[in-house]
């Protein structure tokens, strides 16, 4: 890549501070497209190091009830991929926080994959994560994104055997996304995640940052994950807070306090360890 991707810059900086990244996930256009820009700004101002911006799909098979419902509401209220890309362009005028576009393949394909990649780069996105594109299907996807300076984020699951982890790690760029639980997305406040072995295995295969997501809902869980991982994704728990707010101003207020708590928990994780 000719210029440094914003994601690489963020991890380089965090590495010198020995800190993990806070990576909130927001369903684009939820509950309606007007909310998304203020929410993105609020995330960026309150400790988000990288933002995953979801592109809603009618049939999200990797998502649990919270994000399924968020996708449905966003689509009912007129959210389109084009609109989300416009919002990223506006956000980029105000912030340098990296954006990972996160969504099912079909809307990207239907938009025209080359056109999608080109426009994503133009508006200032930094990476694309497509949960229904495993490494076997990435040949027509990853090179297109890469030619536009975008990372294609690869995922590793608890079910992924060692040889396959190796194959995925060799192809990955930006960061590796480790799925912390078998199953779909969704807050699991009482779960303790078994990360030591799988992360140690991944560390032996790559020097790329490893971000962990799926199920993380509380500052305590985030702190535990941040001791081992280079980034912590919170998704459904954030969406639940937004869903409970009566308007966008109160939503921003509601999430800012909570994000600061998460951020503090993550940034101090390794001091306590």
């Amino acid at each position: 890549m000719s210029t440094t991707n914003r994601i690489d810059a963020v991890f380089a900086k965090l590495r010198t501070k020995n800190e993990a990244a806070l990576v909130p996930y927001l369903t684009g256009g939820f509950p309606s497209p007007e909310w998304t820009l203020p929410l993105l700004k609020s995330l960026a101002e309150n400790g988000a190091d990288i933002i995953e911006l979801g592109v809603p799909f009618s049939d999200p098979i990797a998502d649990g009830p919270t994000i399924q419902a968020a996708c449905k509401t966003a689509l009912e209220n007129g959210t389109t991929l084009e609109r989300i890309l416009d919002i990223v362009a506006e956000f980029r005028r105000a912030s340098d926080t990296p954006i990972v576009l996160f969504g099912a393949l079909n809307p990207f394909l239907h938009y025209g994959f080359e056109k999608f990649a080109a426009r994503s780069a133009t508006v200032g996105a930094d990476a694309v994560l497509i949960p229904d594109v495993p490494v076997e299907e990435a040949d027509g996807i990853q090179p297109v994104l890469r030619s536009h300076g975008l990372h294609f984020i690869e995922l590793v699951a608890p079910t992924t055997p060692f040889e396959r982890k190796k194959l995925i790690a060799e192809r990955a760029s930006g960061f590796l996304y480790y799925i912390s639980v078998k199953g779909v997305t969704g807050a699991r406040a009482n779960t303790r995640f078994a990360l030591e072995e799988p992360l140690a295995e991944l560390r032996s295969l790559t020097t790329l940052p490893v971000v962990v997501g799926f199920g993380i809902a509380t500052p305590a869980q985030a702190q535990e994950v941040a001791r081992l991982a280079d980034g912590v994704v919170v998704g459904s728990a954030l969406i639940e807070k937004i869903a409970a707010a009566r308007d966008v101003v109160s939503a921003c207020g509601e999430i800012s306090g909570w994000l600061n708590e998460l951020s503090t928990a993550i940034k101090t994780a390794r001091l306590k360890a």
Binding site: S58, A62, H110, P134, A157
Partner: protein, 406 residues
């Protein structure tokens, strides 16, 4: 294969699970190891003669195979032109449809894989009943996902599944129909793939499912091909089957793929009419997309969101179709057309009155296509129609559509 008037086709899938440009494995990483393992084991087990004997025994003694290839004399006479129509009587299978061919095969496969829990999706409930039946027979735990809309419309089948010992899980997400039940089954499988096998009901989903379901359903075409040669001394001019996901059609088409002079015709559900947008004809009225793990034709909006399908027949009411059908359509080896709800209803009455057979609404779509096909056939042509299921399950829907209350 000799060169004929049909396009040259490859018998798929290739090692990546593609039929031409269609198919593949578009699923979350969590499922990939399970799919790879399933394919590997399936290829071995398929060659195992004990497995084949066990399946053949059950198909013969339990399902009632081979099913008759019945010469529908009265229907043929009504159509005219000396055309001879044969019905492949899958409606006479145990549980009333072809679905059992696949569920028994996959349930036996699951036992070999050491998986004791089975999940399935169902729309009208036919695949759910066939799965529950196979699980009861083979002593497997069974959970069937079903949309709340369908549960309401198909109470009888819900009760049949429960009677057979299955647990029916209500799906309230999305449009609350078959597509959402399929999504929910995939989600369950993501969380439980170590202990659970997913018996998908049609030739859809990620590789290797379209191949596995086709293989288990090919018994239909193998029998039909032998039977027609025995009865007529030659192959038919055309084989006709209805297509939703497309399992009965792939099952009867597959053994005829190399017979280039046999026309293969898939009939989709045009619902209220293709122009109204309220239909389930993904091959004739959809576009290429990626849905439920495979690249195939699918009904979608200009933004690439999947649109709900419509058909009077719940078994065809699905916005996608099998990738192998997309391949056969793209190469021209099979032709696809669609008939409306109204035409299917007329075909139900035609078959009832001419032959004394109440067809499933799904299968009625294939019957309804015969008059259209006639103009393209020579005098005295032989046609096989796959009568994929019996219509008892549909009598309430049919009555309502004909303005009768029961």
């Amino acid at each position: 294969m000799t060169s004929g008037h049909n396009a040259m086709i490859e018998i798929g899938p290739d090692e990546k699970g593609y039929f031409g440009e269609f198919g593949g494995r578009f699923v979350p990483e969590t499922l990939m190891p399970a799919l790879i393992e399933l394919e590997k084991q399936y290829r071995q087990i398929k060659q195992d003669s004990t497995f084949q004997q066990e399946l053949a025994y059950l198909l013969r003694e339990y399902v009632g195979r081979p099913t008759p290839l019945y010469y529908a004399k009265n229907l043929s006479a009504r159509l005219g032109k000396g055309v001879r129509v044969y019905l492949k009587r899958e409606d006479l299978c145990h549980t009333g449809a072809h679905k059992i061919n696949n569920t028994l095969g996959q349930a036996l496969l699951a036992k070999r894989l050491g998986k004791h829990r089975i999940i399935a999706e169902t729309g009208a409930g036919q695949h759910g009943v066939a799965t529950a039946t196979a699980c009861a027979l083979l002593g497997l735990e069974c959970c069937v996902y079903m949309g709340s809309e369908d549960i309401e419309r198909q109470k009888l089948n819900v009760f049949r599944m429960e009677l057979l010992g299955a647990k029916v899980i209500e799906v309230t997400s999305g449009t609350r129909t078959l597509k959402d039940a399929t999504s929910e089954a995939l989600r369950d499988w993501m969380a439980n793939c170590d202990t659970t096998h997913y018996i998908i009901g049609s030739v859809v989903g990620p590789h290797p499912f379209p191949m596995i379901v086709r293989d288990f359903q090919s018994v239909i075409g193998q029998e039909a091909r032998e039977q027609i040669v025995q009865k007529e001394g030659k192959l038919p001019q055309a084989v006709v089957a209805c297509v939703g996901g497309g399992s009965n059609a792939m099952g009867i088409f597959f053994p005829f793929l190399a017979d280039e002079d046999v026309q293969l015709i898939g009939v989709e559900a045009a619902g209220h009419g293709l122009a109204t947008g309220k239909h389930a004809a993904s091959l004739t009225g959809g576009e290429v997309g990626v849905f439920h793990g495979a690249k195939s034709y699918v009904l979608q909006t200009p933004d690439g969101q999947i649109t709900p399908a419509h058909s009077i027949s719940a078994g065809l009411d699905y916005p996608g179709t099998g990738p192998e059908h997309s391949y056969l359509a793209a190469t021209g080896r099979a032709k696809y057309d669609a008939v409306t709800d109204e035409e299917a209803l007329a075909a139900v009455q035609l078959l009832c009155q001419s032959e004394g057979i109440i067809p499933a609404l799904e299968s009625a779509h294939a019957i309804a296509y015969l008059p259209k096909l006639l103009s393209r056939l020579a005098e005295g042509s032989i046609v096989i129609v796959n009568l994929s299921g019996r219509g008892d399950k549909d009598v309430y829907t049919i009555a309502r559509s004909l303005g009768k209350s029961l």
